[in-house]
């Protein structure tokens, strides 16, 4: 207490080494709490006496964070109605223990000794119970704020698959993961991030499957986080990623618990942050970014075809407009004759060179996408119509762009929408513009240069120490059965070799003979 007074308010956060101990006097304790929080009007402090004794006590919580019905039913009533019991100890210490062990019927409670414990507890929704004459308090978990119910994830909808998505509440999200993997080795380790926001962050993994070094590295990086606040898992992602200069997302985010569960079973870890439905999966590879849970839910032929389609889409999303520019402005001899003539005919009267034309159209496409994403759904449709008309009809009629350019840009946009992960699709858009500039300057030669540069970068990139391009390079042929191809489920017996998991087999065909 003295140190608190001496150091003043400015020091109270920084001086974590010398925690302010609680007083025995209940009034002083309550005063300190009020002073610390500057008496907000949602702070509820209720002073009363333990019925049948002279002992003053008080509870404090923040209205809205704590469930007041729960507080009344399980704390206040129990303490105030103890008269029916006769043998309440007169001694404060014994009374304190008695209250904890027999009277207060709250499922989860801790004791706190310092003012920091009290303020942290109150601000996270706990209720504090003070008893006069004791320099300790009970911190009872009475969290009860409003939360969103579990809904279908908006950003990753599937035709076939579970309809549950993560929500903002950490506990709910943990429950969702637990429901998928009922393994005693499923671990949840809590970190706290945000110096001021004090958000809970849970890293989850399966002990015995995950490689210990990966876990160690993730934990080490998480411990370095030193921010005021982490409102979204994107902050965590950007803090712990391997290369912040790379356009590629090095951790995957998902709203789907089934995706997280599958990743955990492959020897990966998931990072769940309180307050956001987006859970991070670490480490991530390029192959992961181009697969969707539906590849596994549908039959393997369908899954394989979809995978191939996605790889083609990925190439189209990066290279299509630049190939058009290169062929049309540098290598018209490489286009089949009839197509070359009709492209030339359709470009007749277009005032811009193909490079400018492509840039205009791709830029407009980005504008439309951005405008559509931020608008409410009802107006969003209008944007689609206006955009379609402006790009598809008016621009061609006005002679600003050629109709074939519209086809190219539209195909390119569709290809980038076909990618399952939004974050990787957005990264590809960056490459798209880079490739367009390169091909505008150097033609096909530039495209090849750009392709080589992208490949060099991918091969160099790592995600939590695991190469991003694995299992392409370094090559693990055994893992290619679940890369571009998705082999039938009974053949997918092993966990990815590149993850160096503790337990190698995930399924065993040999077991069938026992049945």
């Amino acid at each position: 207490m003295r140190s608190f007074k001496r150091n003043g308010k400015q020091q109270k956060h920084n001086d974590e080494d010398i925690p302010v101990q609680l007083e025995k006097n209940i009034d002083k304790n309550l005063d300190n709490l009020k002073k610390l929080l500057d008496e907000p009007n949602d702070l509820v402090i209720r002073e009363f006496v333990v019925r049948g004794t002279e002992h003053k006590c008080a509870i404090a919580y923040i209205e809205g964070l704590a469930d007041s019905t729960y507080v009344r039913n399980h704390i206040m009533e129990n303490v105030q109605l103890v008269t029916e019991r006769e043998h309440l100890p007169k001694d404060t210490m014994n009374l304190f223990m008695e209250l904890k062990q027999e009277i207060i019927s709250v499922t989860s409670m801790k004791t706190g000794q310092t003012l920091d414990d009290v303020s942290n507890g109150i601000l996270s929704g706990s209720t504090v119970f003070y008893l006069d004459g004791i320099n300790e308090v009970f911190l009872m978990e009475t969290q009860g704020w409003d939360k969103r119910s579990i809904q279908e994830p908006v950003t990753e909808s599937l035709i076939r698959g579970p309809r549950e998505g993560f929500v903002e509440n950490l506990r709910t999200n943990m429950v969702l993961v637990r429901r998928y993997i009922q393994d005693p080795n499923l671990r949840f380790k809590t970190h706290q991030v945000g110096k001021r926001s004090k958000k809970s962050l849970v890293i989850t993994y399966i002990d015995g499957i995950i490689h210990p070094d990966i876990l160690k590295e993730i934990n080490r990086r998480l411990k370095t986080i030193d921010m005021d606040d982490a409102p979204e898992s994107g902050f965590i992602e950007q803090w712990i990623e391997d290369s912040f200069l790379s356009p590629f997302p090095q951790l995957m985010n998902t709203e789907r618990p089934d995706k997280v569960a599958a990743a955990l079973l492959q020897g990966k870890a998931a990072i769940i942050l309180d307050g956001t439905p987006f859970v991070l999966i670490a480490p991530t590879t390029l192959g992961n970014a181009l697969q969707s849970p539906e590849d596994y839910y549908e039959r393997w032929t369908v899954g394989t075809l979809l995978r191939m389609l996605r790889y083609i889409a990925a190439f189209m999303a990066i290279f299509l407009p630049s190939l058009y520019i290169a062929l049309v402005s540098y290598h018209p001899g490489m286009i089949p004759s009839d197509l070359a003539f009709s492209i030339a005919a359709s470009r007749e009267g277009v005032p811009f060179p193909p490079f400018v034309e492509a840039f205009l159209m791709a830029g407009t496409m980005e504008l439309l996408r951005e405008a559509g994403a931020r608008l409410p759904k009802i107006i969003g449709q209008t944007i689609g119509i206006v955009g379609g008309l402006v790009i598809g009809e008016a621009a061609v009629q006005a002679g600003i762009v050629s109709p074939i350019m519209v086809i190219v840009v539209a195909l390119n946009a569709i290809a980038s929408f076909a990618l399952p992960a939004y974050s990787i699709a957005i990264a590809f858009r960056i490459f798209l513009f880079g490739m367009m500039i390169l091909s505008g300057f150097l033609g096909l030669y530039g495209i090849i240069l750009g392709y080589i540069m992208i490949n060099i970068h991918i091969v160099n990139l790592k995600s939590i120490g695991v190469p991003f391009s694995v299992p392409f390079a370094p090559t693990f042929y055994r893992d290619w059965n679940d890369l571009v191809l998705r082999t039938p489920i009974p053949l997918l017996t092993n966990r990815p070799k590149y993850m160096q998991t503790g337990d190698i087999q995930s399924a065993d065909k040999g077991d069938q003979k026992n049945e």
């Binding site: 049309v328 402005s329 540098y330 018209p332 001899g333 286009i335 004759s337 070359a340 003539f341 009709s342 492209i343 030339a344 005919a345 359709s346 470009r347 007749e348 277009v350 060179p353 193909p354 061609v396 109709p403 505008g440 300057f441 150097l442 033609g443």
Partner: protein, 392 residues
């Protein structure tokens, strides 16, 4: 510091090399067909040739939205006379707003006047083999009379005359009297090995083009020495075994029958025991069906069928013999590829007779060639007989 300099240098690469060769597609003048005519003979061995190129006028195409090009002509022919083709094509670019662009060149039509001058044809082909814009798939054809007029016809179903010529050369490969189109790459092979070859002949008739026979080029004399008629072309194709279709007319019991060939292969065996008097045996095997038949004989009759097959074989033999006679006796040109077979399979003998094959002793004309043909009727068609015997 060092890194910064390297970074700047790397970027200069873009500024220096950037946009090299950049030219939007609509500014190219796509040449799709060329013709070469003889303008005049200046002195002994030097000539002035007229080089004509057909350029696509893309605005004549029109976009699908605007409908067809509104009656505008979709091609433009430019002719320049000069000593060399390269020179002429340079002069051509001054005559048009577009840059001549030869990567889409499909056909070259050469006038027979040019082909008949010794060494001129092969010299003129040089640019089409040397220039980087020229593709090796360009088809070469010869025409009697003015080659330029072929590029000026007005075909009914195609917008571009050169495309029409190209299609005629390509599609007719299904009929036996027309040879497979000769591309620039194959032509170079002929020129380099100094062997004799045949190029397709084209004839223009108002708005149509006919592929009629072939022009025979003599390898040693390096000029065109004669033509083959349609029947002689058939025989040539049978001997070479390059038949993918076509028909043979024949008569069985005084009724004419059309035999439709599906494919025919030939096997050429050369007996080199006496190098100065070689025996060559050509056995042709044809497969096909009955395309049309007059009369009311039932084709199910095995005897009749055997007779039919025999007659087809005879007809093929006759065609081949007729062609061979012309090549051996009249033209003295080994257009059948016997020399290359000798070279591949009997190299020792070939080394000996190389200089005596066409020139000198003229061993080619003295060789004894035996031709035998077998034909199989695979199918008699959808119906056996179309009318009863007695009704005739």
């Amino acid at each position: 510091m060092n890194k910064r300099i390297i970074f700047i240098l790397c970027n200069i690469i873009f500024l220096l090399a950037g946009c090299w060769d950049e030219q939007p597609i609509e500014e190219h003048g796509f040449a799709i067909g060329s013709s070469i005519d003889l303008a005049e003979e200046k002195n002994e061995g030097t000539y002035n040739v007229m080089f004509t190129s057909q350029f696509v006028v893309t605005s004549g195409f029109g976009t699908p939205a605007q409908g067809s090009g509104g009656g505008k002509k979709s091609f433009m022919n430019l002719s320049v006379t000069g000593e060399s083709i390269f020179e002429s094509s340079r002069e051509m670019s001054t005559k048009t707003s577009l840059t001549p662009f030869y990567e889409h060149l499909k056909v070259i039509v050469v006038s027979s006047d040019i082909a008949k001058e010794p060494n001129l044809f092969s010299s003129l082909m040089d640019i089409f083999l040397r220039d980087h814009e020229m593709r090796r798939g360009i088809r070469v054809a010869v025409t009697e009379g003015e080659a330029k007029s072929l590029l000026e016809i007005n075909p009914e179903n195609e917008k571009l005359p050169a495309m029409y010529i190209n299609e005629v050369l390509k599609k007719n490969a299904k009929s036996i009297e027309v040879m497979d189109p000769v591309t620039m790459g194959v032509l170079q092979q002929y020129l380099l090995t100094k062997s004799s070859y045949v190029l397709p002949m084209l004839l223009s008739e108002e708005n149509e083009i006919n592929s009629e026979g072939g022009a025979v080029f003599h390898g040693q004399e390096n000029k065109m020495i004669g033509t083959l008629s349609n029947d002689e072309m058939k025989g040539l194709n049978f001997i070479k075994g390059k038949v993918n279709g076509g028909i043979v007319n024949l008569e069985v019991d005084g009724q004419s029958v059309i035999y439709e060939i599906k494919n025919a292969r030939s096997q050429i065996k050369i007996d080199t025991q006496n190098p100065n008097n070689m025996n060559i045996s050509v056995s042709i095997k044809a497969e096909g069906s009955i395309g049309e038949k007059f009369g009311s004989q039932s084709l199910k009759d095995p005897k009749y069928q055997a007779k039919l097959e025999k007659n087809v074989g005879k007809a093929i033999e006759q065609l081949a013999m007729k062609s061979l006679e012309k090549g051996q006796n009249e033209l003295n040109a080994d257009i059948y590829g016997f020399d290359s077979i000798l070279k591949q399979k009997h190299y020792d003998v070939w080394k000996e007779v190389k200089d005596k094959w066409i020139t000198g002793d003229q061993l080619f004309t003295k060789t004894n060639v035996q031709i035998s043909a077998e034909a199989i009727v695979r199918s008699i068609g959808s119906s056996d007989v179309t009318h009863e015997k007695g009704v005739e």
